[in-house]
Structure formats: structure tokens, C-alpha cells
Symmetry: D4
Subunit: 239 residues, 8 copies
């Protein structure tokens, strides 16, 4: 593994760890509040392990990978016996989870949206933000949405995970002054077009206050929700 | 204008009026419950007038055109002083409207969906079916939908007209055992893609009981709703 | 399993069974005429079994799942020895099928459309509606369509299942005053684009009276046809 | 205007007329049976006139342009008083039309498809091939198609022009051993997507024997039909 | 104009003003922190005026419309002499703007993105949130982005408006722990596909912390940014 | 197996064999020159065998299936020991191939287009039409196309099979007065979009005289080429 | 107008001129060999004039705008009497054109591609690179391409501009070792999809050595060709 | 295997080796600077081996295949014990690699883009062009890009390989006067649409000087970069 390189720009430190096939951004947490997280899809198990090791060597208290499949999970556990793997979320963690502050509400429209919601939740946990998750409150039974009004009112931000018609964020955003982070999922078939239908629905939501991430991008939704929750709690990264 | 030709097939009469550029289906009402209706888009005003005249000559009590622009409307009024033009719906009628039976509820998500809802309503009126129209009950204020529950319960069928996210039919279909005919509109911009977003939402509605027509196709929704309302009222075309 | 929760809204009972990963809508049949049906795709076999059990515990006489693959079918049979699995339709039923009333005609354009037609039929059977199925009457031999004119005339509603060019509903709708529910299938290759070609054909059918569901959505077509057949037979859900 | 350049390749003469902005293929008729035809869209009226003049100077007995708008038509008439402009087809001809042989049947699904059918007909006339045109025989009244069976049987090839659902070629191809040349048109709205729906329908026609051209491409359909009709009549270009 | 109707649900007041073609949500500000805003596209000038009047009658201190074209702007000024029209943003305001708190940074990639950024700014102003706007800092000259690092560090949230390649949010999100609200615009041609290219870029941004709104949706971005800025400032709507 | 049913329409015999899941068109060869051919994709091996048997029982001298995979091929060979399976073309034949007349030239742009060209060839053979096949003459080495000019000149019709850029038909059509039947293939990756790029290229070919079939549709191209070759040879189906 | 700001980064000077709505990159020519060029689409005539003035004030010897419409051209001529406007290319130049070195060959497939080729040529001229333009050598008459082989052999790089099927670059790239810069144009209709067909053809060209720019992007092709021609001539920007 | 055929055209030799299923272009290197390279996808292992053998028989010093899977790699090694297989790049080489001249810089945005960059590198090596590869410098940490400014300045041309948002080429092109060859990859999920998002980003790059190849087309990028590097080094193929 190479030695961390350091580039100074605009008064900020930008240390990177060059391990040949990857160049890890060791100061991303300092700059952005979230560390560089390893995206395991398209990497070999060994590459993912090497990236996690480089991040830990670079000083991270918690190193973390998403889109972890079974062989990669096994390779991580082989290297670090105390690694935690969240199978529903397909995430793996090495190190200590921070204590949570703030409160994010994570809603799903249906049971099949669960794995994406789990990735949101895992991301929040690793980012030191608290959450509550309520599943299967899709608009086909709109009273189920109305029943969670108290939870919506208590949240710093609401993450809504939905596939098929993706209609849930429109309804939720009309009930609250909280920001709604909408996550389309690839749940559905035919004209769902692998999540495109839900994505377009959320982008054209008739209620303002909805912001959208990529299809199945629980990680991105979690990072964004954590930024909002932290700033609502008066916490910011060092500037 | 040519004479009606007659083709006998399977014991049914199939008279057509051949007027050169068009071959009008004079017995469509007998066969299908709805007469041939003139689609004025892509026709010259004179062609539309000629088609209406051929239908009246063929024995229709009411001849009728959709997608009527201003010059065509003027040409129709010139020919038949008592023609009725519905400008919101862009429809024109020559002859007597039938007495309405049954009850269709027509809902719109927003004010801009009005012209399509008007085409639904005009089609129902011309088909001899009663209707009630309630506008601007989109899901951004879901209590507005809940407030029309009594009207939904009284209807033979519910037509829901919505653009942008097209989420309203999913919510309505979860509230009733009536069939929901969903009409996506081209209202919206950007990722609404001229009605594609609403169309996909409606096709992937998480609540069953939703059937979909083409974007902005108020006429098709009206014909379908009329068929259902008539059969619910125990009326059928002659078999 | 959690206890059913109850939310009262607009004079209707909305009992749900919260089993953690799912929140089942126990009164959906009372409200909409069709019970909540378990969509097994994206659920583990155990989750599907748990959902069915919760519905039966909640008082359902018949609990029912669609998109059931072989492992899920086995898990259902393990739990309920008398469960009925329709392999062509990929549906599983636990409990008593209702006695059928009314008559729906289910047509397919080709043999490969069979599984989707089977899902339509299974849905009708579970909904207490009678049906007749006639296969392989595509428009490449249009006399085959004309030959079923008597069956079309006898039906309360016609469901037409077609892939590839999806042209059959246009022809059928021109022959009848019955509503035509069109189901595009993913049969075909190349420019069929997994059912998109058939979907667009049906949405732009030149004959009115055609309503469309999602690609391969036999369940949705069956629920809609059942609603129409029941209202034609003078039956409605309790209002 | 430049002098014709001549390139000899594989024993064939390839004379071109270089007029600066265009390089006209003077021997295309000798090689392919159809002369170079001027596509007026995207050219100034003067450019179209110059191209026609170059073709005539190069020895053509008939020079010819498609997609001719009003200003271009006027410019052509100004230059050649005896030019013939077909306004429905948007074609202009300078010179003598050949005597027709063979017989092509041109069908349209609806009146609005007329201008494209007119371009087919004009192309056939300019190519020396006879045709018969029958309009408005769409599948919404399938007996209208069956009624033209005798004309189909008499044709060397059948050109079918249809927008919206584009279903007519599938039905026609099932009735005949003649080749069917299918022309999708941009007639329709919403999910017709400017002719895409009809194009996909025709490409996935369930009856074999259907070949497809670009949307609204009456010219291409006419050239192809002429090639088939000529070879059926035993006529070929010089080889 | 109709009288406000009132629906009580879950302890919240839901007053609506039914003016026939529209049903205005008078308590949306109380529920969501943003009042119902009139979307003038697809409405007649008179309809927009009537909606604004109804909102003012319903008690709003500030009534407000977006997508206001010139005739609508004139109609608003005719009715309310002191109305303020922001022509770049195509917004009109009747009433008193609130005092701004908080700070949102609005960046554009290019000059042509200006009108959308103006809509963001107008929305923030009407929502009582302060902003700073810096234009033309696209990544083709990445030092321009780096030069605004101090402004980024001072903001509660950053709104980035970009067309063409839409690459700016990816770069900005890597520099800060603030949330980035990305607004794709329809600036560009060809493969920009009216903003689709920028939209996809932003949805797939390689840096987390980016949330996306619809193409050209400055209003939605402004509402979302206002929600975040207010919660960062410790302000919430009444719960 | 059911008995053949007979429908008389317009003086033609329309016998069908109803075998439950399929309704075979026994007189299609008489009407259209090509018998009903079994499309094996989406059918079980047993269903394909049953269809072939029904066609033979109905009097066919040659019964034939396309898109035959290995298990289906085995099932056919089990039933008919003398069945011929063309593995490259994925076609199976039971019965006697007719004697070939006429001459079709089949060109491929690259080696990977071979299986589709083989389906063209098999279809021609089964249709009693002669062919010559020349592979790998793509435009990247345009002299390879020019070298086959003599074969092009001798053909009744030219079938061009090409994936990736699909440019070959444009070049060939400029060299001949023969009709060019263009077959896009799904060869390629990325922006080839499973054959879409080649399909669009062929539809927009700058040389007229090109007609197009569905992606990978060697069967359709073969049937169409056979129709043209037969009529060029003065042969027609009985009228 | 603001004063130029200066940012020092990695030893390079980055002066910008901040004129409020734009922030001009005064050292782009030094860094990249091409100055910042004003994209006039989406700017008011006055904004374009102000940008040009700022560039000249910043020291440019030649300031230059693309996508210049008639009102903008007039505004430029009003401000600078000696401005040169190329109407075919829709470009305007203020200042002195550099002396050309090197040689780029610009080919068009058809006359309608002329304006895009003109933008390529204008860009080359403004970049100090020589060019030769040959129009209308599309593959429908492939001998026209072969006839320009000598010009291809003499060029430093070949720019090929083509709409419709976009097949010309594939043929040219197979004839030379020069790089081919392919420019798809929006010429064509129907399945040309505003240049998408040509774009996909060029991206999937079966001959390597083809690089592609955006649809109608003559400017981008010109800048790229200039970079290659300059490096071939041994000229580089200061490093 | 057939004997090489020879076609003389425009003074150039065009020898081809006809081996039945393929017709290899033996003089492509002489004409274009790059030999015909075997695209192994869609070919059997034996076909790829036969093609390589024919190229070697035709006189090539180095024969070479891309998109080589494991069975094909094994077949090549079986035939030629000294064949070199680059597994990351999926390329196989038989013969001697040329000595490299010139310098191409190959950048990747992320680790998952590695295999495509490897194909670029392998193509450069086989083309006799030197390269340097730097991985994982995506714009989420823009300082990583700035840190490679010296390498960019030293290169003859820069190849940038990026998936997801594909934003890296826009940033690089703004830093240099070198041509940027942009390679979109299929890395990413959801709205990345298998590389479409990155492709559109690169086509609409706001910085000029970017040229684009097909998604994942490392081979095409390598050939193009080699052409530029060679001409920059003053080397050309024989003309």
C-alpha cells in the first residue's frame, strides 16, 4: 500500500491513500461530514477488503462498505472477526458505530422496499443519526399513512422509500413541513421499468418539499438525511 | 357523397358511407353502443363537416366531433346553426343529446387538467350517461380526496384525471369498490415528459382496480365509463 | 404477530395487522370488494407465508398470493396442506373459493400469452366471478376472432391478453359494446421491448372502449373485470 | 454549376453533378431504377430549384422533389411553368410522368393518414407504376378491411399506411400472399409518441410478410413498392 | 366564490376555498410551512387572478404565482397595483414579503441557467429565507468553483442550478458538508434532451449529499432549501 | 386434440385445429403462401411438439418451428426420428423441404450476425426459395461490399443482416435496383442498445429501397424475401 | 463591469471577468488553446454583446459567439461595425482571425447538413486551422466517398457531418488512418429522432477510429479537430 | 481456409481472407494504421481461434482479440502456448508487441472503471503507443484531479474513463489543451441506465475538446488515442 499523499488547497488538507487500483480520500469526513465509503459493486472481495484496510490505516474510527455480496461479506469477516454485516442492507462495518443524535423517520410503501430502507437505516446509524422505521404504509390504504402523522411530526426529516407508482412521497409532503427525501426503488414489473416510473413520479410530485435520489440509492438518501438532521440539531462539520 | 355500402358478416349489418377520403361506419352504435365519432385533428374543417353530414345522412340522431379547433368549430356552426360547441372540451355536437341515466364521478387533480375532464364529461353527455365533476382534489392535500368519499360511493364508476405525478388514482382506488378509469394528462414540465410520468404511475398503481387510457384521452375514458355505467344500469346494446 | 390496529376515518373501519415488515389491510375487501392480496415477488417464502397467515387470522375466508415461485409454493403447501397452487398462473390460495357469478371472456392472441391469462382467470375465480377462456385467436388469422363473436356477445366484459403487436384489443373493441380490458404481455423480442410495443398499441387503440393495465398484469385485469362483472350483475361492496 | 464528374468503378458509370452545396448522382436511376430525388426539407427554395435544374441538365426526363413547402413550390413553378405540384403529397415534378405498369394497392387506416398515402401514390406515379388507393379501412371496423379483399388479391404488393395503433398491416398480412409494406404515420397523440407506437406495432406484427419503413416515409414505401411491382412485372433496371 | 369548507382530520384544520375550477388549500402553510402557490401554466390569466384573490380572502398575507407569462402578469397588475412581478423568475407576488433569516447559496453553472436560479431566489424570498446568488461557475473552469469555497462554507444549504452536462453538483458536494439541492435545467441541445442529461448526471452524482428536483423546477428547489434553512435556524412550522 | 373447425368467409376456407392451448391456422399457406409456423419461444417442448403434430394432421407436408432451444429440439427428434434441426438457425423441420426456385442473396455485416442469417436461410429453404449467403462484408472495409456486386446483380432480392451501426443496407441499396430487406441484429453493446441503433439506422437509411423487419427477425425477413422472389418468378399463391 | 479576479492554482493564472450574470474565463486560451467562446442561445442580445466586450477588455484579440440568431447578430454589428457574421454557421466574430496552419477535411453526407459543417469550418478558422470542405458525399452513392480518397489522405484529421442514418463515418474510418470526428445532425424525420439515430450509429461504428460529439455540435467538433491538427503540426499551448 | 482474395481500388491493395464465416481484412493495418482485430463476443472459441490464425497466415506480426471470455482464452492458449491474455482487459495477443512511442494518459474516475481502462491500455500497447494509467481520481474529490495536472500536461492525449455521472472529462478538458477522449462505462445502477447517464454527460460536456466513444468501448478509445499520439509524434500510416 502506498503512503498517504497530501495536497494543500484553499487551506484544507486533502490526504489520499494511493493503493494502486484506488486512491482513497482520507479527509472526506473532515470536509463533508461523511467518510469515503467503499462501493463494493464492481470490486473483487479482496479489493473491498484492501480499501477498508486503507481507510482504517488512514485513521478512520469506522470503515464501511455498501452493496456487499456474500463472498465480500465473508472476506470482510475473515479479515476482521468483529465486523458487522447487515444482510438486509448489504452493508458491512468495521469499527465503532457513533452514538446517534437527531431523529429521521424512514417509511416504506411496501414490504419489498425493505432492503433499500435498510440501507438508509444503516447509513444513518453509521453517520451517528437516530432513526425510526415504519414499513408498508403505501397509498393503496391511505389511512395507514395518516396513522403515522405523529411520527412524521416528530422527525427532523422524512425518508420515503417506494417502488411501483412511487406515489407515497407526494402524500407525505402534503402533511408536513419536514423535508421529504424520496427514494424510488426498482420494485415492480412491466411499466415500472426497473424504478423509472417511481423516479418520474417523485420528480413530478405535486407537493413541494420533495427531493429525490437515484433508484435504490438508500446510501445517498441516508447521507443527505444525516446532513439535514445534523444541521437541524445544530451540528456541522468543521469549516 | 357515395351511397352507403353494406357488408353482411356474422348476421350483423355493416353499412358504411364512402365519401372518398373517409369510409364512415354507420352501424357502429348498433354494434358497440357508441357511434363513430369524428376525430377532427388532422382533418380540414371541410372534411370534418363532410364527415358529420355523412353520419347524419346515414341516420344518426346525434353527430359529433372531438379535437375541434376554432376554424373547424366555425365551419360547423356555419353549416348547422344549432350546433353546440363545448370550447373547454373542444367538442362539437349536431343533433339532440340523449337523456342521461347512471352516474359517473369525474375528478381532477388540478385546475390545469380541466380541458381533459371536460372532454370526458362531453363524451358522457353525448353517450346518455349522467356525471358529476369535482375539480382540484390532488394528493398534495389528501384531505380533499377524503372529503369526496360520499360522491365516490354514489358513483357507478370513477374517472380520475391527473397530470404531473398522476398519483390520485392510486389513492382513490384504495377507497372504493368502483372501477377507476385513470386519465393521465400532459400537464407538467421536465420529467413529466408530456404525460409519460403520469401514465407510468397509473399503469403501476399499487392499488388494483385502476384501468388506464392514453394521455389526454378524455374521449376514450368517457366511452369506457359510459359502457360500464350502462351495464351497471342493466342497459346493453342490442346483441 | 402484532394485534390489529384500528383507525376510524369517515365512518369506515380500517383495521391493519402489523407484523413488523408488513402492515396488512384487513378491511380492504369490505372497502373495495377485493381483499389485500400478497404480492410474493421480492418477499421471502417465509414472509409470504406470514402475510397469508395474518390475513387468515384477521378473518379472511380466503387468503391469496400472486407471483409465487416454486420455493414459495412449497412453503405455502408445507404450512397449509390444502392450499391450492395454480402453477401456470403462479398463484396460491388458502381457504375456500367463492361461488362464481357473472361471466368474463378471457381471450389470448397466442399460446405464449397463456400464463398471464391464467393469472386473470385465477383472480376472477378467487373474486367469485365466472369466466370462459379462449386461446390463440390473434389477428394474423382474423377469422379466428370473428369466430368467437357469440362468446363476446355473451360476456359482461372481455379481457384481451396479447403480446408482440398487441393488435387484438383494437379489433375486438370494434365488434362489441362490452368493455375491453387489454393486457399487454412481455411476449416477443427485439422491438417488442418486453411488452412496451403491445402497451403502446393498446393505449392508442383506434377503437374506443379499450382500457389498459400494466404489462403482464393479469391480477390487475382480473380485479378490474371482477368489479365490472359484479356491478353488471347488480352486486356492490357494502357502502 | 460544375461539370459532371465521372468515376468508373466495377464497370459502372457514376456521373455526379457538383453544384457546390450538392453533388448529384446522375446515374442513380441506371443503377437503382429510381433517380436521385431532391429532399426539399432543410434546403432553401433556391437550393431545391438548383438541384432540380442540375438533374434535368444531367439528362433526366423527370426531376422531382419531396417535402416541398409552399415557398419552394412557388419557386419551382416560377422556374418551370409546367411543373406539377401535388399539394396533399407535398411533391413537385418537372418533366414527363412515365406510363404506369403493374398495380399497387395503397390502403389507409384513417383519413388523417391521407398525406402520407398521397406521397406513396406520387412516388409510384413518378416511378411508372400503377396504383389504387382505398382510404379509411382501419381495424376498428374490421369488416371494412374484409371488404377490400378483392383489391388485395389483385395487387402486386400492398402498401398499408396507418397511425395510432398501427394495427392494420397485421390484419392485412394475414389475408394475402402479397408482400405488405407498412408505413407508420405520426397521426395520434400522447402514447402514439409521434408515430413510435405504430412503428413498434408494425415491426412486431404477429403475421409475417410485413416490411416497415420510417415514420411518415411515403417516399421510401413508394420506391420499395415500385421495385417489387416492376420485378413482379418482369422488369428490371439494366444490370 | 364559494365559502371555505372545513374538514377536521387528526386534529388539524383543513380549510379549502372552492371556487369551482379550483379548490384552494388555505391551511397548507400552517401544515407544511409553505402556502399553496398558484401554478399559472395551463391557467387563464383570470383563473390565476381568481386563485390569488381566494388565497388572500382566505387570510394569506402574501399570495403568489409561478410560471407567469406576460398576459397573466398584466392581469395581476391590473387587479393589484402594488403587485410585484419578477420577470426573470416569471413569478408574481401580492402582499408583503417576510423578513429573511438563514442563508442559502444559489450557484449557476452558466448564464443561461439564470431564469431557473431566479425562480429559486424568488421562492426563498417569499419563504422568508435569505440567499446569495453566484452565477457562471461551471466546471469547465473548475477554479471558479474553488473560488466560491468560502460562500459554500457559510451557507445553510447550497442550491446548484446547471444544464448541459449537469456536472457542477458532483464537484460542489465533494467540497462541503452542506446539503446540495441540484436543479437540472433544459439548457443545451441535442443529447441534452431538454434537461434529461443533466437530470441523470445529478441522480448518479458520484459524491453523496446531492438531492435532485425536476428539470427547471426552481420553485421546488426553493421550497426544499427553505425547509432545510428554517430547520437549521431552529424554526419549524407549528406541529 | 380437437377436430378442425371451419369458418367460411368471403369465399375462402378457414380451417383451424383447436388443441386447447392453441388454435392452428391450417389454411394459412393457401391464403398467404406461408404455412403457420410454430414460434417455440414461450412454449414448453411438449406444446411445440403438439403444435407440429396438429399441423401435420391438418395435412401439411412440412411442419416447422423457429426459436427452438435444445430441450425442444430433443423433444422433436424423439417424436420424429427424421426431423431436421438447424442448430445455428434454431429451427426444426418435420417433413419434406420443397424444391427451391428463385435466388435470394443473404449478406451479413459480421460473423456474429450468423445465427440470424441462418434463420433467414432456413426460412427460404422451407419456403422453396433458393439463396446464396455471403458473410462478413461490413462497411468498415467497403471494398468487401463492392466485391459482391455481381452477386447483388443476380439476386431477386437482397437480405442484409447487420448489428452495431447497421450501416450496410444503406450502402447496398445505393448499388442496385433490387429490393433490400434489412435485418437489424442485437449484436453489439452499450449504445447498440440490443439492436436499437441498427434498427434506427436502417429505418433512416439515406438510400431508398430499404425495408426493415424487427431486430433478429430472420424468419420475417425470410418470409418477405420469399414472397418477393416468388412473385418475381411469376409464382403466386392461389387467389 | 467588474474587475478581473485572479485565482492562482498549481502555478497557473486563472483570471475571470465577473460581469454579474457571467464570470468569463479570461485565461482559457492559455490553458486549453481555445478561448472562452460565448454560447448565445439562451442569452439576450445585450448579454452576448456584454460577454464579447468583457472578453475583448480582458485582452482577447478575437472574441467570438456561436448560435447567434438574427437579433443578436444585429446587436453585435451595432456595437462593432467590423464584426463578421457567418449566417450559415450562425457565428459572429469581433477582431482578427489568425493565420491558418494544418489541414482539416470537413465532409457532409447531404446538403441539409451544411449549417453544422459551416459551424465546424468557422470554428477552425477562428482557431487558426486550415480546412477543406466537400459536401454531399453520403453512402447512398458510395462512389462519391471513394472519389474523395485523395483529400482524406491529405488531411490531418477528418470531420464527418451526417444526419439520417449517420453511416458515413463508418465508411470513411475504414479508408484511412486519420482520426474521424463524427458529428451527428438533427437532419431527418420520424425514427431519426432529432439526430438520435445518427448519434447511435456513430457511437457503434463498426470501424474503429471514430470519435463522436453531440448532435449538431459543429463547435465542439471544430475545437477537437483544431487540437489534433495543431498537435500534428507540432504546436501546443503553453504548458 | 480460403485463399486471400485481392481487390484493387484507387491504387490500394485490399486483400481479404475468406474463411467461410468470416472475411478478414488483411490490409486494414496498411490502410488505417490498426489491423483488423477479432471481436470475440458472439463468436465461438473455435471461430476466434480460426480468425486469429487467418490473420497470422495473412502476414500479421501480431494478431489480437478483444472481449475474450475464459473458454476462448483457454482455446487461444491451447493453440498458441505463448499467447498473452490480459484478464482484466479481456484481451488476448498472439505474436510480438511493438515498441511503444508517444505517451497517452489514461485516467479512471473510480476503481470499478478498471477493466475498461485496461482495454484502453492493452489497445495502446498493441498499437505501439506508450501510456500511463492513474486510477480513481473522480470529481467527488476534485483535488485528486488537480493533483494529476503534471501528468495531463505531459500527455499527447488524455483518455478519461468514467461511469455513474461521467463528470470527469468536463473537468479535465477545462485544464488542458490536449484532446480528451471520453469513455463512458456501465458502472452504476438505477438512473445510470447501464452507462447512458455517463454517455449523455460526456456528449454535453460544457468544456469543448471532449470526444466520446461508445459505452465500455476501451478498444475504440485506444485506437483513436493511438491515431492521435502517432500523428503528434509525426508518424503516419503509408498513404
Amino acid at each position: 500500500m502506498g503512503h498517504p499523499e497530501q495536497v494543500s488547497s484553499h487551506g484544507r488538507s486533502h490526504r489520499t491513500a494511493d493503493i494502486g487500483f484506488a486512491r482513497l480520500d482520507l479527509d472526506r469526513e473532515t470536509r463533508t461530514g461523511t467518510p469515503e465509503v467503499v462501493y463494493a459493486a464492481g470490486k473483487t472481495p479482496q479489493q473491498t477488503v484492501d480499501c477498508l484496510a486503507a481507510l482504517l490505516d488512514g485513521g478512520a474510527g469506522l470503515a464501511w462498505a455498501t452493496r456487499v455480496d456474500a463472498p465480500t461479506a465473508a472476506a470482510i469477516r475473515d479479515r476482521w472477526a468483529d465486523a458487522v454485516v447487515d444482510e438486509e442492507a448489504r452493508c458491512a462495518f468495521v469499527g465503532e458505530l457513533p452514538r446517534p443524535t437527531g431523529q429521521v423517520l424512514v417509511l416504506t410503501a411496501g414490504t419489498s422496499d425493505g432492503p433499500v430502507a435498510a440501507e438508509v437505516a444503516a447509513t444513518l446509524a453509521a453517520s451517528g443519526v437516530g432513526y425510526r422505521r415504519v414499513d408498508d404504509v403505501g397509498v393503496a390504504g391511505v389511512h395507514r399513512v395518516l396513522a403515522v402523522a405523529p411520527e412524521i411530526a416528530d422527525a427532523d426529516v422524512v425518508v420515503v422509500v417506494a417502488g411501483m407508482d412511487g406515489a407515497l412521497p407526494s402524500v407525505v409532503a402534503g402533511l408536513t413541513d419536514r423535508l421529504v427525501v424520496a427514494v424510488p426503488t426498482s420494485v415492480g414489473y412491466g411499466a415500472a421499468f426497473e424504478g423509472l416510473a417511481a423516479l418520474l413520479t417523485m420528480l413530478t410530485a405535486c407537493a413541494p418539499g420533495v427531493l429525490v435520489v437515484n433508484i435504490d440509492n438508500g446510501f445517498g438518501a441516508g447521507v443527505a438525511a444525516a446532513r439535514i438532521a445534523r444541521s437541524t440539531q445544530g451540528m456541522t462539520a468543521q469549516r
